[in-house]
Structure formats: C-alpha cells, structure tokens
C-alpha cells in the first residue's frame, strides 16, 4: 500500500487510474447490458428492412413514392403498419394492376418471406397495426356464435349475412369471404383496406376479431343442410328459382297433358 501511495504523484498515475475506470465501466456494461439476442434480432430486422427496401423500390415505389410518401396514383404508406402490407400483398391486391373503382384480389406473386421483408420496410415508415400472430386468428379458439352476432352487427351490411359479398356505390363492392384466410380476415378488420372501414382494437377487441374470423370460416366451410344455396342471396334468388323452375315444371307438365289426346281417333 505504501508503494502505491508513494507513486501517487508519478506522471503516469493519472493514465493508470483512467485505464482502471474505463475497464470497470466496460466490465459493468458487459455484465448488465441487455441480452445479446436483442442485438441479433435488430440486425436481422434491419437486414429484412434492407431487403424489403429493394423489393419496395421495384414493386411499389412507382405509385407510393420512393419513401412511401404517396402520390397521385397511390396513398401514403406512413403508418399503415405491417398488417396492411401482409393483407394487400398476401391477397394479391398489391401491386395493383391498374387504377379503377376497386383493386381486385389476384394471384399473389411474392413468397411469405418477401412479404415479411416488405412489411418490415413499410412498418419502418411509422407505427401502424402489426400483423397478427397465429394465436390471434386461431379459429379453434374463437366463439362461432358470438362471432356471428358481431358479424351481423358490423360486417353483414356489406359482406352479406353468409359472407358472400355485395355491391357498393360506383362499381365498388364488398368481396366474398369464402376463400379468405383467417389471417387476412383479421388483417382486413385491423387495417380497413380500400373502402372498408377499419375496426381497431379500441372498438373491436382482439378476442371479438378472433370470434368473427371463426364465424366466417365456419360459415364458409360448413355444408348447407338445404343443398344449393343459390348464392345465399335470400328471397330474391330463391323466389326467382321457384318461379322459373318450379312453375316452369308445372306448366311443362300441363302442356304435355293437354298435348296428348285420349280420343280413339287421333286428329
């Protein structure tokens, strides 16, 4: 101790103390720093954003602008979130083929990995709805009957009571939900694609969304005990079918009966 104390005025003492302090700070940081996996995640996340940026430049930027700011041909993508990208690209609606009243669903040309990269890039523009996890849209966990009631309150006015879709104004329409996957139904409710209003968690909690997804899939998959559902359009198609085919068959029988005489001498 004496030796150390004797050298405390040595010209290199300050340097030694400084080195000790730096080593202590670094050591403490290494001990208490956030886990290393987070660092790895953020680097893979930034990698995905990099890849997504390339995909975005090729497929999206001509309408939505190089930085997602939007333009005359497409809306701004700031704040739409990864859920909107996953829905729009996953159902083939984006990239759009041509402008029009409504962009239709078509064959999706991106792999899920590419969609995730695009979503990561677009989500980096600003906070927005996040694509759901499998558990959020697990139809097995949803309550079909509660979902039916919610569906009739919130969705059936446009999508029809059986999810068969319907017409809106000026060539727009609510699409049929028969072939929409649970994840995409969930994302549509979160983000409100095109002219569909959004149903954020604040007005329709996650559990209610899962119930609705369960109801829509149940309705699409359960067989109809009545046989041909004639588009599930209700009394219009059913009445038309009855008048044309039911009455038509009766008239045909009546004509057949009258055309065959029972007289012995055929005239």
């Amino acid at each position: 101790m004496k030796k150390l104390s004797a050298r405390r005025r040595h010209p290199l003492a300050a340097l030694v103390v400084l080195l000790f302090a730096l080593a202590a700070t670094g050591g403490l940081y290494a001990a208490f720093a956030p886990a290393g996996t987070a660092q790895a995640d953020s680097s893979s996340q930034s990698l995905a954003i990099e890849e997504g940026k390339k995909l975005y430049a090729v497929g999206c930027s001509s309408c939505h602008g190089l930085n997602g700011q939007g333009g005359t041909d497409g809306p701004s993508l700031v704040g739409v979130g990864s859920a909107a990208v996953d829905f729009q690209v996953g159902t083939g609606r984006m990239p759009a083929q041509q402008p029009g009243a409504q962009v239709p669903a078509k064959k999706n040309i991106y792999s899920q990995a590419q969609i995730d990269q695009l979503a990561a890039y677009v989500a980096s523009f600003g906070p927005g709805p996040v694509a759901p996890t499998k558990d959020q849209y697990d139809t097995a966990k949803g309550d079909v009957s509660a979902g039916g009631e919610l569906f009739r309150t919130n969705c059936a006015q446009c999508h029809n009571f059986a999810g068969k879709g319907g017409a809106l104004t000026h060539g727009k329409y609510a699409p049929a939900l028969d072939n929409t996957s649970p994840k995409h139904i969930y994302e549509a409710m979160q983000t409100g694609p095109q002219n569909m209003p959004a149903f954020p968690d604040s007005v329709m909690p996650e559990k209610q969304k899962r119930d609705i997804v369960a109801f829509v899939r149940h309705t699409a998959e359960a067989p109809s005990p009545g046989g041909m559902d004639l588009g599930s359009l209700g009394p219009v198609t059913e009445g038309l079918f009855g008048w044309i085919f039911g009455l038509g068959a009766l008239i045909a029988v009546a004509i057949w009966v009258a055309a065959h005489t029972s007289k012995a001498k055929k005239s």
Binding site: L150, T153, N154, Q157, C158, G166, L168, T169, H170, K172, A174, G192, Q194, N195, M196, P197, A198, F199, P200, S202, V203, M204, P205, Q208, P223, S224, P225, G226, G227, M228, V257, S262, K263, A264, K265
Partner: protein, 354 residues
C-alpha cells in the same frame, strides 16, 4: 262519311273480281257442338282396365311415398350431410322428406288427372240458360205475404216500437266506431324525439359501443374506422330494446377534419368524429354500408347514398332528407357524450314533419 269502311273491300264485292267467297246467309249462326268422339277407353274394355290399373298404381305410389316420409323422419339423423348431384351437399333428412312428400302429392294429382281423362265421362253437355226473374204469380204472392207480415207485426201502427228499433239499430255500429280509438293516440311529438332527447348539457348521455358495451372514448375511434353506438343505459336485456334501438342507433365515423366539407356538420362532431343516425330517411332501413375513402353510406334497400363528409347530404336515390346528426363532445374523462337529440327527426319523412 270519310271514316266509313270502303264498301269495295267487303266480301260481296269480291265476286266481281273473279275470286268467289262463300258467304253464309247468317255468318253469326251458332255452329253447334262438334260431333262427340269416343276415347279408346270408352270402346275398348281392356284399355279401360289398363287405365284403371295405372290410376290405382299412381295412388299406391302416393301411399308408399307417405309411408316413406314417415320412415325417413324416423330413420335419418338430423345432422347427416350427404352429396347428391346436382344439389351438392345436403341434409339427407331434408332431401328424403322433400322427395317423398313431393312424390306423394304429385301422384295423387297425376292419378286424378289420368282418371278424369280416361275413365270419367267426357260427353259434352249443354244446359240452356233460363231467365233469372221469378214467374209473375210467385212475385205477387211474395209481395202480398210481405204486406201481410208488415201489417201483422204492427210495424206501421206501433210507432214507439218502430222508432226505438230504428234507434237501437242506428246505435249498434257506434261500438265499432269507438273501437277505432285504439288506432290512436296520435303520435304527437314522439316522432320528433329519440332516446337521446333525455340528454341535456347538465346531464349528458355517454355513447356506448354496440360491440363491447363500454363507453366510447374519442381516441378509440380512429380515422377510417366505423363503430355503432347506443345511448348509455339502453341494455339489450331491457324491455322495449328493439323499439328504442330502432330510433337511437348511431353510426360513428371519424373523418380527417380537413376532409369534412360541411362546416355545421364538422362543428357538431368532435375532432372529425361524426355521429349520424343509422336509420335511412327514405323508409327507415338500417344503413351502414360505409365506404371509408369516399365517405359514402349506401342504403341496401333502395340505394340511397349519403355523403357523410358533406353533412350526410343525399347524393343518389330516393331519400328526401340528409341523415340526422347527433351533436357530440367529450367529458372530462375523454368519453364521447351527447348533450341533446339528433338535429332532425330520425327515419322516414311523415306528414307533419316540419
């Protein structure tokens, strides 16, 4: 006489041009019935017996089909789905019941028609008409009997009886007239007000979400979203809920304030949140086919279209009034509240509507 038919075109004059037309003396004479023709079953006993067997067979098939109906009701489980071309997947019970009942009814009809056409008499019969009027002597007797009856009843002589009878007969229909009171009472101001009318600035009513049954906060309603609301205190379990919600239902949307074209409408909302009646002003259908980009609301019944960004103005269809709007603001906790009724009577137009 220029509008008379040219006489040269009449048949009599055609003969002179070399085309003889046979004209009867009386062109409107009754030609009478054509001669009766017999059927095979009338002259051939074997054909008649065959027709009889066919009719009996149809009736027998009907009986078997009815038994089949009862058997299917017992045998088939209610939830069994089978594939039957061309109906697709169908409940086996429904299909069996429908087919057997249809066959049972059709065979009765077909048998009856076949019976009438082949075996029942088809000889033409003509009945001559006769005057409806009764013979002179019968009429005279009825009149004299009536006079005698009137005399015996004393109807003309006993004036008190006659007048009280007329009075009682005249009063009886009044019972029916009084019952018409049940059509009333007149609605009075009822059509002008909804459940929101109870709200005052001192005692506002909160807007409650139809989905969660919780009061809605302003931050819950994001731009582009749609949510339906009812007045707080109106529960689905409460009596008269259906009548109340048919007038009180509210459709809440949020539009970016700079997109709202109608200033009074914007000022009735809160920061772009607008509350409109969900009841179409044409014939009162519930209307909520909302397009969040165009801000149009379409009525599914008769395609009335309202522009929510322009005070719910009617831009297409038969509706005569814009959708009534509910003035909303927020309370200290951020909950959306109403301090009064809609700005116009909800639902279809009516006679006394101002």
């Amino acid at each position: 006489m220029s509008h008379d038919m040219s006489e040269e075109k009449l048949p009599e004059h055609r003969g002179s041009e070399g085309h003889e037309v046979a004209v009867h003396d009386d062109p409107f004479a009754d030609p009478g019935l054509p001669p009766h023709e017999v059927r095979r079953t009338d002259i051939d006993e074997r054909a008649a017996r065959r027709a009889e067997r066919q009719v009996a067979l149809l009736f027998t098939v009907s009986m078997l089909a009815t038994i089949g109906f009862i058997a299917s009701y017992v045998v088939f489980p209610i939830d069994q789905i089978v594939f039957i071309w061309p109906f697709g997947h169908v409940s086996s019970l429904n299909f069996a019941l429908g087919t057997t009942l249809g066959a049972a009814l059709f065979c009765i009809g077909a048998g009856a028609v076949h019976w009438a056409r082949t075996l029942m008499s088809d000889v033409e019969v003509a009945d001559e008409r006769h005057p409806i009027e009764a013979p002179e002597d019968v009429r005279a007797k009825v009149i004299s009997d009536f006079k005698a009856g009137a005399e015996e009843s004393g109807f003309g002589r006993r004036k008190l009886l006659r007048n009280t009878l007329i009075g009682s007969m005249a009063l009886v229909p009044l019972s029916g007239v009084v019952l018409l009171r049940d059509l009333g009472p007149l609605p009075g101001k009822k059509l002008e007000h909804t459940g929101w009318d109870a709200a005052t600035p001192a005692k506002p009513i909160k807007l409650v979400s139809m989905n969660t049954d919780e009061p809605l906060k302003a931050e819950d309603v994001t731009v582009g979203s749609l949510v339906f609301a009812k007045p707080q205190g109106l529960s689905e379990a409460s009596e008269g809920f259906q009548q109340a919600i048919a007038k009180d239902a509210v459709m809440l949307v949020r539009i970016a304030p700079e997109d709202i074209k109608d200033r009074p409408s914007r000022e009735m909302g809160f920061d772009g949140i607008l509350a409109f009646s969900k009841i179409c002003t044409h014939v009162g259908c519930p209307i909520s086919l909302y397009e969040q980009q165009t801000h149009h609301v379409l009525c599914p019944c008769h395609q009335s279209t309202f522009d929510l960004s322009d005070g719910a103005r009617v831009i297409f269809g038969p509706a005569g009034h814009p959708l009534p709007q509910l003035k909303i603001k927020t309370d200290a906790d951020g909950n959306l509240i109403a301090t009064g009724d809609f700005n116009a009577p909800v639902g279809p137009s009516y006679w006394e509507r101002a």
